[in-house]
Structure formats: structure tokens, C-alpha cells
Amino acid sequence: MRVEERFAQGDLGAFEELFRAYQRDVYRWVARIVRDHGIAEDLTVEAFLRMYRAHARFDPNRNFGAWARRIATNLALDHLRKIRREALLTIDPEDLRAAAQTGGDAAERREIRDAVARAMSELPPKLRVVAMLALVEDVPYREIGEALGISEGAARVRGFRAGRLLREKLKTWGAAL
């Protein structure tokens, strides 16, 4: 019996096998959306718990990875909705290090970083997810659509709307775009 079939029957061993095969992918996907390692870990664990609870509804003929990403994306979206207006986008230490290595004026770099973080934070969560994945991470719209449960075209429209809003906000704040 295939591992997906055993998982669908609630086999914990099969779930662990699938977890080990997909935890990296799910974590990386979530981290790209929320840009925080601790939150990405927490959401990854929560996503796998939801998968296990929903094992009976999983069709073993479906792609487990795509199903896992979809659940993880929904959780990441819920997280963005929850934190909206509570705080600005967290700046990942990697961003700070990378910004320091690219050269240029430190104050200008900080200004750009803050402006981008603020503009992203002000986007509606469902546009922010697409903006983060498509415009910053260069993830193809087909993959984004799959993870959000929408068509590639709909994901592209969201990307376009997010881009237009970001440009407007950044230009208002004087960004040289």
C-alpha cells in the first residue's frame, strides 16, 4: 500500500514519512509568506496537525505536496489577517545583512527597507501573499494559484493589483520608481 493511502487511513507512521518528505517544502513556502523563522515553524507544525486531523478527507490519488501547501497557505493567510494593523511587517535579519552587503548609503537602504515593509503591511492579506511570492520571491503564478485554490489567471490579476497598489503607496512616500 502506498504511503498516501496509509496516511488516508490514519496511519501515524505514514504521516511521519510524509512529514519528513514535505516539512522542508512547507516551511520554506510559509517562511516566504510570513518572513519570520519562528512564525514559519509554528505555522508549519500547525499545518501538519491540520493535515493529520483531515487525513480521512485526503484523496490518496491527489498530490500530497500541493494539498500540504494549500493548507499551509490558508494558515499563513489567517496569520496575516490576524496581525494586520497590529504591527508592521517584521524585518528579517537576513534582509538587514543582505542590505548591508549590497553597498550604497546606509540611510537610503534603511529608508527603502522601511518603505517596502510598510507598503507590504498595508496591502490586504490576500494581495500581500501574492505580492510576496510573485514580486519578491519570483514564484510562478501557476504555483501561487494552486496554493491559493485559484486559477493562474486570477493569481496574475491579484499580482497586478498588488503591484499597482504598491507602486502608488511607494510613490506617495517619494520612492524613486
Partner: protein, 72 residues
Amino acid sequence: MNEQDDRDLREFLKRGLTPMEAEPRRDLWPQVLERMDERAARVPWLDWALLGTLALWLLLNPRAIPMLLYHL
């Protein structure tokens, strides 16, 4: 927004937020098991509510206790 605008925007955003090259810092399986146990041990709020209602009812109707014990 044309293709050039799109490219410019992507470039600008990446100057502020670099693409994430994230890897899990540890194995998350123990955390999954831990949360599974926590949730299995947790008594649902509805059970507590039913228990509370029963206790209150018995407090108000102490004569019902022997009858309840008989039916148990």
C-alpha cells in the same frame, strides 16, 4: 503597469526585502507529536459546560442524586 514598470517594481522591492532562503532550523516532528498529545488531553469546553450544568442541577435538586446513581 507595463513590463518595464513590473521589472522596476520587483527590483525595488528586492532592495528592501531579499528573497528568503529559509530552511527549518530544527526537526519539527517532536513539536508535532507534542501538540498532538496536548490536544488529545484537552477536554472540550462543551464537556466542561455539561459537567457544570449537571453539578448545578444536582446542587439545586439533591433528591435527584440517588435516582441518578441508580441509573448510572
